[in-house]
Each structure stands twice: as C-alpha cells, then as structure tokens.
C-alpha cells in the first residue's frame, strides 16, 4: 500500500524520527522519575508491611490465633494505616479491616500484590489510593494479609507520571500534525521547483522557478536552477542556431561544389572541354567548407568546455607582438597603415592558442573591411580595473550601433559584407574565446568619419585580471 503523498515527504519522515527520539527520551525520563520516587516509596511501604507481617507472625507463633486477633483489634483502633485480613485455612474471612484479599492466586508462598483502595471524601468524591500488600500462610495454616496505602508521595508521583504519559501522547499527536504541516509547507516550496523540472523534461526550456524573496535555501535553489536553465537555454539556442546556420552556410557551397563537379563530369563524358578549371574551383570550394567546419568545431568545443583549456600565465604584449609580425606585411600590401601600442610586462592567464586565434580573427576582419589608405591599430594595455585589454581599431565602415550585438552571433554577416569572403564566424569565435576566459567582447565606433571612410570599428577583447 502506498502512503499518502504527504506522509512520504522528507520533512514528515524527519518529524517521525524526532518523535521517536523524543518518545524514547521521555520514556527513559519517566522510568527514572519512577524509580527515583515512586519506586522508593513502594520499597519503603514494602519494608513497613514486612515488619508488620513479621511482628504479627511472631505474635501468632508465640500465642496463637487469638493473640493475632487481639493485635489486629488493637491496631485497628490505633489508626495505623495498615489493612489486615485474617483468613482460615480455606481462605474464609475470620477477621480484619477489609472484606476480601486483593491477592487473586495464592499458592502458599508469601505473595506481594499492588492494588488500590477506594476511599470516600466527606464531599462524596471517590478517591483511589495505590496500595501494596503481602499475603502469607501462618504456621497453623491460616492466611494473613497485610496491606498499606503507599502514601501521598507516591500517589502524587503516580499522577504526575500519568500526566506525563498524557502529555507525551499529546506531544506525539501535535508532532504528527506539525510534521504534516511542515511537510505540506516544504512540498509547496518544492512544488514550484518540481513543476519547472517537469516542464523542462517535457521540453519547455523557458520554464523558470518562482523566487519568493524569502532568501532561504529554497530561493537559493530556485535561483541556481534558473541560472542553469538560462545557460542551458542559451546554449541550446546557440546549438539550434548553429545547426541552422551550418546547414545554411554549408548548403550553398556544397550545392555549388556539386554543380561544378557534375558539369565537369558531363563535359568529360561528352568528350569536350578540359575539366581542370572546374576541378580547381571545386577544390577551393571544399577548402572553404573545411575552414567553416573547423571554426564551428572550435566554437562548439569552447562552449561545451565552458572554460579555456590549458590556461597558462603569459605576457599579452608578447603574444600580440607575434601576431603583429604576422599581419603587418598584409596591411602594408593592402595600403593600410598598421600601428601597434603594446604595454610591456603585463601578465594574464589564458589559453594562448585560442587568444592568438581570437586576435588574428579580429585583425582578419579589420584587414578585410578597411579600405586602402586607412589604418589599423592593435593595442594591448592594462585597464585601471586590472583587466587586460586587447583592442583593434580600424577606419573601415564600422558596424551600426544597432547591429553590434548581432554581429557577435554565429554566422551573422551584415548585408553590406555579403560580398566579402568568410563564413561570418570570426567574431563569434572571438566572443566564445572571451566567454571561455570569463572575459568579454566590446564593440565601439572607431575614430569617426573622415571623408569617405569611417566611422571605423573598435573591437576590444577584455580579460579579467589574473588571479
């Protein structure tokens, strides 16, 4: 049988555990109180009963039944708190202060018993006193019972113990209710999270857990869950977009490639024309496809890793100087002035390979879009915040402010750059490298409009200060 849901929650189980613990402690406590007080009172009473029994037995042995009877009569008059019952061999009452023995089964050996005495107050209320009694067979065969009220102390302790039992029961009942309430409370708090998880499992990545503002651990959990979902959603969207974009960007060159090969094949089959040119072009197309492919892989790997692999401490100025050396002749050839301003002695941590590639990509773009007569400047410096900034400024057409966020996305190429080669992945890779280094990418306007050229673009890759 399955328990109701509310009884299967963790808080309810914890409540049960604590109740069990409490009950054991309470029981141990009660037992101790009993042994220390009521037990002591009982033992004292028992000692007194035994003494009384011995003196009566002594009287019997010395002077027979009459002496016992005589003693009983005397004692009954002296307000002693003992109860007596003298019975014949066959358990018939001979004399005494009570009508019948509270001992149910008497085998002949001395037998102790606990019973209660009913008393009536002057107001007619009936009070029960706990009592102890001892029954023995006398040497002549008669049976003697001696009993005694265990006294006010023990009666009090007994009532306290009874009250404690009652209270314990009350605690357990209240505890169970509390457990149910707590469990409902937690279940309600969890319900939001569970709902979100179920929604996500169902494929809805937009679901978010409510943050109630209580700043408790449930809020922390909800917040962490939401952040994780944000990241997941971004990454999924990235992948989906990448999938579409790869399909889009690879389909056209692949279609072109296929057409070229088919045409060349038909030409060769018909025995006319030299396919060399078509094949060379096909090879070029294939190289373009491979380049796109490699870049897509690099981005995917960086995003999947979530961090730059193999980070090392290095001098960013030196890294940039090497890249300058690689790009300077290209700029010169294009008639673009190239300048570098590299701070010396800086230190930063990161993957040199990916950072070099990122800077190379930004320079590739700058060279591509800066017309002859323009200028490109590579700068490495330390910001006052301690961050290290690599920036490339060019005097090309720049990127309109509205589009700056978009050009970083995968495969986005602005309309006016359609005629330039490249898969539009350059800046996405730079953004992925920045993100993997916990850094960021900033796009701004360059030096402004000068005649026909400008306003230019300034792309900055900013790395956090090295820890």
């Amino acid at each position: 049988m399955r328990l109701p849901r509310i009884l299967r929650t963790a808080p309810f189980r914890l409540t049960l555990l604590f109740l069990a613990l409490f009950a054991s402690v309470a029981f141990a406590l009660l037992a101790y109180i009993y042994v220390a007080t009521a037990g002591e009172a009982t033992r004292r009473t028992d000692r007194e009963i035994q003494q009384e029994m011995r003196s009566l037995v002594a009287a019997y042995d010395r002077a027979g039944l009459d002496a016992v009877n005589q003693s009983l009569i005397e004692r009954a008059a002296s307000e002693r708190p003992f109860l007596y019952l003298l019975m014949s061999k066959d358990a018939k009452r001979i004399s005494g202060s009570i009508e019948e023995s509270p001992v149910d089964q008497f085998g002949g050996k001395p037998t102790w018993t606990s019973f209660s005495i009913t008393d009536q107050t002057p107001h007619g209320r009936i009070i029960k006193h706990p009592a102890r009694g001892l029954q023995e067979r006398l040497s002549g065969g008669e049976i003697l019972f001696v009993g005694a009220d265990v006294g006010e102390d023990e009666a009090y302790v007994f009532s306290v113990v009874r009250a404690l039992w009652g209270a314990g029961l009350l605690v357990i009942v209240l505890g169970l209710c509390g457990g149910v309430l707590m469990s409902r409370n937690v279940t309600r708090s969890m319900a939001g999270l569970t709902e979100v998880l179920e929604a996500v499992r169902g494929g809805d990545l937009a679901a978010r857990a409510p943050v109630r503002g209580a700043r408790d651990e449930f809020d922390d959990l909800a917040q962490a869950l939401n952040e994780m979902l944000d990241r997941l959603e971004r990454s999924m969207a990235g992948h989906r977009h990448a999938g579409d974009a790869i399909a889009h960007d690879l389909r056209s060159p692949l279609t072109r490639l296929r057409a070229r090969l088919e045409a060349a094949y038909l030409d060769v089959e018909a025995g006319k024309g030299d396919p060399t040119h078509a094949l060379a072009q096909a090879l070029e197309d294939t190289d373009g496809v491979l380049k796109t492919f490699v870049t897509v892989l690099a981005i995917a790997r960086l995003q999947a890793a979530g961090a730059a692999p193999d980070p090392v401490l290095f001098d960013p100025g030196e890294l940039a100087a090497d890249i300058c050396e690689l790009y300077e002749p290209l700029c010169e050839e294009k008639g673009v002035e190239f300048a570098a301003e590299l701070s010396k002695g800086l230190q930063t941590r990161g993957n040199k390979e990916f950072l070099a590639q990122a800077i190379a990509n930004v320079l590739d773009n700058a060279v591509k879009y800066t017309p002859s007569g323009g200028a490109i400047m590579l700068r490495v410096r330390r910001r006052s915040s301690g961050e290290v900034e690599f920036s490339v400024t060019d005097t090309g057409p720049g990127v309109p402010e509205a589009d700056r966020g978009r050009v970083v996305e995968r495969f986005v190429r602005l309309e006016n750059s359609r005629n330039q080669p490249g898969a539009g992945l350059g800046l996405s890779l730079v953004a992925a490298v920045a993100e993997a280094h916990r850094g960021r990418l900033e796009l701004d306007e360059g030096p402004g409009k000068v005649g026909e050229s400008g306003p230019g673009l300034r792309v900055a890759l900013i790395l956090p200060r090295a820890a």
């Binding site: 060379a280 090879l283 070029e284 294939t286 190289d287 491979l290 380049k291 492919f293 490699v294 870049t295 892989l297 690099a298 790997r301 692999p309 193999d310 090497d322 050396e325 690689l326 790009y327 002749p329 290209l330 050839e333 993957n351 390979e353 070099a356 590639q357 190379a360 990509n361 590739d364 773009n365 060279v367 591509k368 080669p421 490249g422 350059g426």
Partner: protein, 223 residues
C-alpha cells in the same frame, strides 16, 4: 617511398592509398591497431600514417609501443579530435606531426613527404644548399649566386623551412604551424604575403624563379 596506413575506416584508407600511390608512393594498409603494430614490426617504412581512434589498440598506444621497441619511423597522426591537448598527447606519445580530419589531400601528402624528408637529412648540417641558394645556419646569412640576401628573422625561418623541404609542396597551414607555431587558419592570405615578400627577395634580379606557387596546395622551393 613506403608508407604504412593504419586506419579503421576502409574507405578513407583506400582513398588515401590511391592518392599516395598516384603521388608515387607504395602503401600498406592495416585496419586496426594490432594489425598495424604487426605490420610495422614486420616491414620497413619511411612514414606511418596512424589514426588515433581505432578498435583493439588505439593509435597513441600503438606508437608508444613502437617507440619503446626502438622504432623511429616518422608518424603522422590523423584525428577527428583537434584540441590543443589532443595534439600534445599525440606528439608526446612519439608522433611527429598531427593532422585533424577532415583535411585537404594536398595537406596530407605535403606532410607525409615532409616527414620522410626529415628523416633523410638526419645529419646536422650547418649550411643548407638548394641550387644556387645557400643558407649558413650559424652565421645566419643567405647568399644566392654569391650575392648576400638580407632577410628579416621570420623570413629567414621561413626560407630555412622551405629549403629543408626543397622540391616538396608545403601548405600554408604547415608554414603557419612550423614557422609561426600557430594552429589555426587565418581567414586572410597572411601567409601568401609573407611568402611573396620572401620571393621578391630571393628571386628578384635572378633569371630563374625558385619559389613556386603550387595550385591547390601551397608553395615549393625548386633548385
């Protein structure tokens, strides 16, 4: 030359063997690591092309085993993986070069031939000679027909690499990797500009150009 191809993808291995045969090389194929190890131990090869991920024994293990046994045959690793770390583990295991799939065939041939060549010129020469071009590696000078050619440090390195691989195609990626030590593909023709600068220095004013452009592959320095 004799090449051992250890690759579990039959079709890829066949295409590779066909292409290499057309370039004038003899190929032996093995379709998994264990078979590759046996073939490598049985025969003498100039170069081995080893796929990294294969059934039975992966490429790294295969090369490690061979190197332990004292086999120094140059190895070109092929891999679908391409992270920096992968390349490093491949090279640490004893590989000599690393090529990520998918690759251009010209790239494969150029690298295989470069590996074989490296082995031939085992002795340490202080002077490299290709035709009438002479490079003194200690004095860091270059002469053609006795005329000194002034080169920038990087141009010197570029020419040294081309001279060590004279007569072979070297791709732009190879130059970027071996001369600049970058392992990415620039979107612009940066390498072409460096090569054409070098060309203008070593060929201008001489009747016969040495630095050739190889269509679809890269460059070649001819004697």
């Amino acid at each position: 030359m004799k090449i051992l191809i250890v690759e579990d993808d039959r079709e890829a291995a066949d295409a590779m063997a066909r292409g290499l045969a057309e370039a004038g090389h003899a190929c032996v194929q093995a379709s998994d690591g264990e078979e590759g190890l046996k073939a490598a131990q049985a025969g003498e090869f100039d170069v081995m092309i080893v796929d990294r991920m294969m059934p039975k024994m992966d490429g790294v293990k295969l090369v490690e085993t061979l190197r332990r046994q004292g086999d120094g045959t140059p190895v070109l690793f092929l891999s679908a993986l391409g992270e920096v770390g992968d390349r490093v583990t491949g090279l640490q295991a004893g590989g000599d070069d690393y090529l990520v799939k998918p690759y251009a065939f010209a790239e494969l041939i150029a690298r295989v031939e470069a590996l074989a060549r490296r082995r031939e010129t085992g002795s340490v020469a202080t002077v490299l000679r290709v035709g009438d071009l002479e490079m003194d590696l200690i004095a860091r000078t270059v002469h053609r027909q006795g005329k000194e050619i002034d080169l920038q440090p990087r141009e010197f390195q570029l020419l040294e690499f081309m001279m060590r691989h004279a007569g072979q195609s070297v791709t732009r990626t190879m130059l970027l990797e071996k001369v600049w030590e970058y392992h990415f593909d620039p979107q612009t023709n940066v390498i072409d500009v460096h090569v054409s600068r070098l060309r203008s220095k070593i060929d201008r004013g001489f009747d016969r150009p040495m630095l050739q452009t190889v269509r679809g592959a890269g460059y070649r320095l001819d004697a």
